[in-house]
């Protein structure tokens, strides 16, 4: 009799637990409904994000191609200008030679000296043009570095698209890093300031001096 009572008590306890579970479940249902509603509204948003990422990823090679086109155009234009500079420099050089030979035949002449001075000025200006034109090389290195950056962004986005859609996006063409595939200096600066060259010169001088000192030491020991 006592045992039967204990079993009944256990059943009532379990029923009580079940009751509290249902009560808890009733409280939980609106929260679950909210989560489902949120998920339902999020899915189109995520799909939209996915589409946008795919769209942006497919546009990246076009941006890289445009950068390459800019580099190529400036390269062609710079080479054309340099051809002109080369021709003018050659003409100036032969003019200078002829004036020098006239000067040596006729002796000192004020007009000739003035002309030679003017030619030297033109030569210096032509040299300055060639220094300024080197901005093309520097900018092409900077643009290559931008292309490299674009390529790494494309790789990241492609892998994100692959993770989201579970398939490889074959429509996205690869980026052509012409003309400087990994051989650019991202820190290249168009700096006509001579400080960088001065640093190099000081290092070269230091190196040559230490080399000379070593040579002198060797000589000294050889004489002993």
């Amino acid at each position: 009799m006592m045992e039967q009572k204990t079993n009944m008590e256990n059943i009532f306890d379990k029923l009580g637990d079940l009751k509290s579970f249902f009560i808890y479940g009733q409280k939980l249902i609106p929260i679950l409904q909210k989560i489902i509603d949120f998920m339902q509204s999020t899915v189109p948003l995520l799909e939209n994000v996915n589409r946008e990422i795919q769209d942006s990823t497919s546009k990246i090679p076009k941006a890289a191609l445009q950068i390459n086109r800019v580099t190529n155009a400036t390269e062609v234009a710079t080479t054309e200008i340099l051809d002109v500079v080369d021709g003018v420099s050659m003409d100036i050089h032969s003019m200078k030679d002829k004036l020098q030979s006239i000067k040596s035949r006729m002796g000192e002449d004020d007009d000739l000296v003035t002309l030679l001075g003017m030619i030297e000025k033109i030569e210096t200006r032509m040299m300055n043009i060639t220094i300024s034109l080197q901005v093309q090389d520097i900018t092409s290195q900077q643009l290559s570095s931008v292309n490299h950056l674009i390529q790494s962004i494309q790789e990241k986005l492609s892998s994100l698209v692959k993770d989201l859609t579970n398939k490889e996006n074959k429509e996205i063409p690869s980026i052509d890093l012409y003309p400087r595939d990994g051989t650019f200096n991202a820190d290249a600066r168009y700096d006509k300031n001579s400080k960088s060259q001065e640093l190099v010169d000081s290092l070269v001088t230091k190196r040559n001096n230490s080399k000379t000192s070593q040579e002198e030491i060797d000589k000294l020991f050889a004489n002993q």
Partner: protein, 121 residues
Amino acid sequence: MKKVILIADDSPTIRKFVTVALSVKGFEIIACADGMEAMEALPTQKIDLVITDLNMPNVDGYELISSIRKNEDYRELPIIVLSSLGNTEDIQKGLESGANSYLIKPFDPKRVVYEVSKYLN
């Protein structure tokens, strides 16, 4: 006889700059787009001086200089580095690999002519 200078640089405009600056002074220029081309061009004729960039595809400037210095025939060949790499480490690395001079881009053509003349005249 004209002195022959080999220039190795992947930038066509830099190759052109050097050609313009030096051909007017009576030097003959052989232009190569990278270190590999330069290594192939070296034995084909007598080269009096090499001007090289450091960042190049296939074979870079450091490798080119090292391979030149390893060759007994070119041990005394003057080498000038022409690079936009301007920090102390790069400069020292370039000089330690065996370059005689180091010029920073953008360079003054007069300075290039001066450096070349220092070794060839």
